[in-house]
Structure formats: structure tokens, C-alpha cells
């Protein structure tokens, strides 16, 4: 079990001890590990130990056709897979100069926002479980399942909805789907006060989360933090508003921010984002019946599709933060190089390492869940 260059070393006697936190640990999110050095209960040093989920995505994508990669990319981030495929499809469209029909863009917005709600509900559940409140976990997972049922109905897949292709989306909405989506949104909205009473206003949670894992706005910007974690430090930056893609510039929504930059602020930002996502979805549901037309642009034979030479960088706002794809084509049937800039690599490695220092050991799990880091996306 030891590395090849291992040499046993004698440590001087001290009050510090080392602890392997993970990879198989109920308090850690997924297959990820931290090596922490403790003095009593207080963390002196933490070191992230990833790589348990490494599959070599960027290499695998070079070996598959442009269209095959659509099925591969959602696997990068398991709790929130939809932004992955949308972002990749947007990159390929930009390389080919494809015009995506309006209706497909609205359908994509619907998919992205549903996915955001599902991911946030799941995060609340996990975060509550780390503070010992298992009821919220049961509720969050159960309500997320309602969204997954919607996904299953309109994309065909429960978790991995391989719904996009370069040029549009795969299929039209089923009959009566807009009514069912409205019902589910109404139900989730009616549940939010219950969540407030159970979790967000719960003193058990508030007292533990306030002041845990604090970062200032300067630190957040220096560490490459994006998404809700950045907005929790007071900076209203959202790719959906500041660099609009799809039809987000035609939609009306707010960018919620909080000032403190601790675990409580981060969770609260997600809670407020739920409301905004529901608001966006209501607008999409109202607009969709009037937007007619094709749902995909014609593309050449996808099995022999030589995408023009070029480099392209696309970004979307996923539920975890800013997600970017850098795609290079050499004019062949497969990508020459794909780089994925995932938000969690910053959150789970450098930010978590620095935030854990000085906190107590029971707060590590809470810090990790409040950062909403996604280990499969860290390792890729």
C-alpha cells in the first residue's frame, strides 16, 4: 500500500496527529479524501487528496466522435449533469457556425433551470445531514425526485438526460408537460416555507453555519471561486446575466447575494436562487407555447462530421459555478483537444484546504457541502 519512494520517517513527539478523512467516509461528499493534521479537535493543516474518480475525460473525448462526446460529458458532474452537455453543444455549434432555433434555446433553458433546482435541493439535503438534520435530507432527496420524474418524461433519462445535440435538442415536449411542470413548481414553492422552518431558520443549523468557512471577496476572487460561493461574498456576478447565453437576456431574474461569505451565506444564496429558478421556469412555461418552429438545426452526417478548424471557449453558469469548455478542432471527425474548466476543482482543493485550517474537525464536512464541491468534476 505504500508508494514506491516511501521511506519510513520518525516524527518528533508532538500533540498533533494525522487523520485520513475519506475516501469512504459518510461526512465527505463522494469519493474524495482529505488528509488532516489535528491538534485536539482543531485542524492544523489539511491537504486534499483527489484522483479517486479520475477517468481521463479530456483524453477520452479526443478518441470519440463529436456526437459521441455528448453522451460522455454529463458523467463529469453527476449531481448536475445538464450544463455539461449544453456547454459542450454550444462549443461545437460555435465552431461550426450553427444557428440554434429559438425553441431549442428555450427548451435548453428549461432543462438547465430544472437541473439547477434538483442540484440545489440535493445539496441542502447533504448539507443538513452533515449537521445531523436527517429530515431535511429525506425531504430534499424526495423533492429532487419530482424533478427527476420531469426529466425522465421530457428527456428520457432520469439522471443523465442526453437531451442536447449540437444544433438543438433531441425531442419535442410531451403532451401536457407544461401543465405538469407548473404543478411541480407550485408544489416545490409551497414547500419552501417548510424548508425554512425545518432547516434555514433552525438554530442548530444557523449557529453551526454562521462563521464557519469564511472567505472575503478578495480571497474568493484570488482563489478562482465562482457561482453561489462567490455571490455569498457580496459580488453579484452571474454568467447568465453578465455574459448571456441562450435566451437568458430575454428573461427577468435577480442575482441574489449575501455579504458574509460563510457557510450560512452560501446556503442562503442557494435558497434564494431556488426562487429565482422557479421564476425563470414560470417565464419559460409561459413563453414556450408561442415559440414555434424546429427544435434542431440540420447537421451533416454525424458519423462523418468534420468540424471546421478553430478554437472556441464557451461558458455557462452551472449550479456549482462557472463551467467552461475550451475546444480545439483540427478539422477532423474528433476533437483535437478539449479542456473542461469545472468550478469544483477550485472549491474542493485550494479553497477547502485553506478554509479547513483553524476549524474544528466536525466542521470539515459542513464546509465541503456548503462549497457544493462535486468530486467527480474535480478529478474528471
Amino acid at each position: 500500500m505504500r508508494p514506491e519512494n516511501y521511506e519510513a520517517q520518525r516524527h518528533p513527539p508532538s500533540n498533533e496527529f494525522e487523520l485520513n478523512f475519506g475516501p469512504n467516509h459518510p461526512g465527505i461528499e463522494g469519493n474524495y479524501a482529505l488528509k488532516v493534521k489535528l491538534h485536539g479537535d482543531v485542524v492544523v493543516e489539511a491537504k486534499a487528496d483527489g484522483g479517486y474518480l479520475h477517468r481521463g475525460f479530456e483524453k477520452l473525448m479526443e478518441q470519440r466522435l463529436w456526437i459521441q462526446n455528448i453522451a460522455l460529458v454529463p458523467r463529469i458532474c453527476v449531481p448536475d449533469p445538464s450544463p455539461m452537455e449544453v456547454c459542450y453543444a454550444m462549443a461545437v455549434e460555435e465552431l461550426c457556425g450553427l444557428d440554434v432555433p429559438q425553441r431549442a434555446q428555450w427548451l435548453r433553458v428549461m432543462q438547465l433551470e430544472l437541473s439547477r433546482i434538483a442540484a440545489h435541493l440535493f445539496t441542502f439535503g447533504g448539507h443538513a445531514a452533515t449537521t445531523g438534520m436527517y429530515s431535511t435530507m429525506y425531504w430534499g432527496v424526495a423533492d429532487r425526485d419530482l424533478i427527476l420524474d420531469l426529466f425522465e418524461e421530457f428527456t428520457g433519462g432520469r439522471v443523465y438526460s442526453i437531451y442536447n445535440i449540437p444544433g438543438g435538442v433531441r425531442r419535442e415536449l410531451p403532451d401536457g408537460f407544461l401543465r405538469r411542470i407548473s404543478e411541480t413548481l407550485d408544489y416545490i414553492e409551497s414547500r419552501l416555507p417548510d424548508y425554512d422552518n425545518l432547516f434555514f431558520k433552525n438554530q442548530v443549523f444557523v449557529k453551526r453555519a454562521k462563521g464557519t468557512g469564511v472567505m472575503s471577496q478578495e480571497q474568493a476572487l484570488a482563489w478562482g471561486v465562482t457561482g453561489p460561493n462567490l455571490r455569498a461574498t457580496g459580488l453579484a456576478f452571474d454568467v447568465r446575466r453578465d455574459d448571456p447565453y441562450l435566451v437568458y437576456d430575454q428573461l427577468d431574474f435577480e442575482i441574489p447575494t449575501e455579504a458574509h461569505g460563510d457557510a450560512w451565506s452560501r446556503t442562503l444564496v442557494r435558497r434564494l436562487e431556488l426562487v429565482e429558478s422557479i421564476r425563470i421556469l414560470r417565464q419559460v412555461v409561459a413563453a414556450l407555447p408561442d415559440i414555434r418552429g424546429p427544435i434542431r438545426a440540420p447537421i451533416p452526417n454525424p458519423l462523418a462530421w468534420n468540424v471546421p478548424v478553430g478554437e472556441v471557449y464557451t461558458r455557462v453558469e452551472s449550479s456549482k459555478g462557472e463551467l467552461c469548455y475550451f475546444v480545439v478542432s483540427d478539422g477532423g471527425p474528433k476533437p483535437y483537444r478539449v479542456h473542461v474548466r469545472g468550478p469544483s476543482s477550485m472549491h474542493a482543493v485550494q479553497v477547502l484546504e485553506k478554509m479547513s485550517v483553524g476549524s474544528r474537525i466536525e466542521d470539515i464536512a459542513q464546509t465541503m457541502f456548503s462549497l457544493d464541491a462535486c468530486p467527480p468534476e474535480v478529478d474528471r
Binding site: N20, P26, G30, H54, V141, R158
Partner: protein, 237 residues
Amino acid sequence: MSSIKQIPVITERKGNPLARVFDEFVRFCRSRSLFILHYCTGCGAIELPPAMTSRFDMERLGIQPMVSPRQADILLITGYVSIKTLKRVILTYEQMGSPKYVIGICSCTVNGGMYWQSYATAKKLDEYMPVDLYIAGCMPRPEAVLAGLQKLMDRIHSGEANSWEDYFRNYDYYLGNQQKLFGENWQTPTDIITEAKHYDLIDEGTFGKHTQLLEQHQKPLEALDMRLGHDLKEPTE
């Protein structure tokens, strides 16, 4: 659909009939109280919270999650296993007390799945440890997970789920595959051969050239430092 009925072979049963009744009772109880250690090795872990919580409710089958390997009965491998994870999976598996059952969830544990050409993942799980049951799919729905667990319960009740004995009987084969992947001086802190003697499961496949190789490289267990990966460096002064 033509079905060939298996003709039951009546073998002469030996031993105390009361002991047989007792064994049957033990198997029944064992199949109704299972603790899962789910090692979230991959994507499939995302379908376990729905399967465990109120919607599909695994607990009504008597199945609960368990956090420590020594008290768990089932090892759920949820998805692809990268080589770094596989070391920990084998370590976890060997720590579990017998009888233990392994379920491979997702296609990746069967044959590599989506990552059949990846350089970083182990393709077939059953080369490294005996697997009782596979639940195929990418990813299997919670219903499929529950159906798989029910199948396992039936197999435990009928006494068919004894793959854990294979690990002792064919230890040389499994150790050989592990050595091929991790290097010749691969060693876990669990002494499988002593354990096999304890369970009286020594067979032809237990010893072989790979176990000989293990004996050459084996360090005494007291000297084996169980810190995994790189060390936290002491600041040199």
C-alpha cells in the same frame, strides 16, 4: 416459451437434522438484516439516496447503510473503479467480516462501461474480488437497485450467495490480478491465508506462485504503515 425443469437431485443429507433447521433459521435472519457499506466509487452513488430515503425506502427490506466496514454485510461498488480507488476497495473488502457480499452496480463494474478505453479505470471488478450480483445499467434506477437487493436476499436465504468463500479458495487468482495491476510488492494488512485456515476454506487455488511472491515481499504486519498515498511532510528545520 419452453422451460426445462431442473430435476432435483436428492442427496443424502448428513449431520444433525436440528442443526439443519438451525442453519436455515440463521440464513433467514441473515438475509433479513443486511447492512450496506456503499463505497461511492462512481456515478451510481447518486441513485442510492433516493433508494434509501422515503420514496423507495430500502429500510422496509431490512437494509440500512452502515459506516464502518467491519460491521457491514454488503459492499456496494457503485460505478467505475479507478485504480487508486480499487486499492481502497480491496482493503475495505478484506476488512469486512465474513460472510460478506459484493454487489457491482452500473455497467462499469461489469466490463468498463463508458470508460472501456480509459487508462485510469479497472475494467472488470470480478478479476479482483468475487462479485455476488451485478446490477447493470448506466445508471440503474432505484427500482433496479431494490430488485437486485431482493435477489441477493433470496440467494442468501437459499444459501447460494457464498462468493466470499471463493476469495479464500481462489486467493492466488485474485492476488495475481491485483499484483499485475499494483506491482509485485502489493500487500494488504489482512492475512487472508490465516483467515482461510480459520474458516477451513483452504483449496487448491489458495496457494500458488502469486502467494509465494507475496511471502517474499511480505513485511510483518506490525511494520506495515497504513498511511495511504503521500505523507504530510514534516517541516524540516
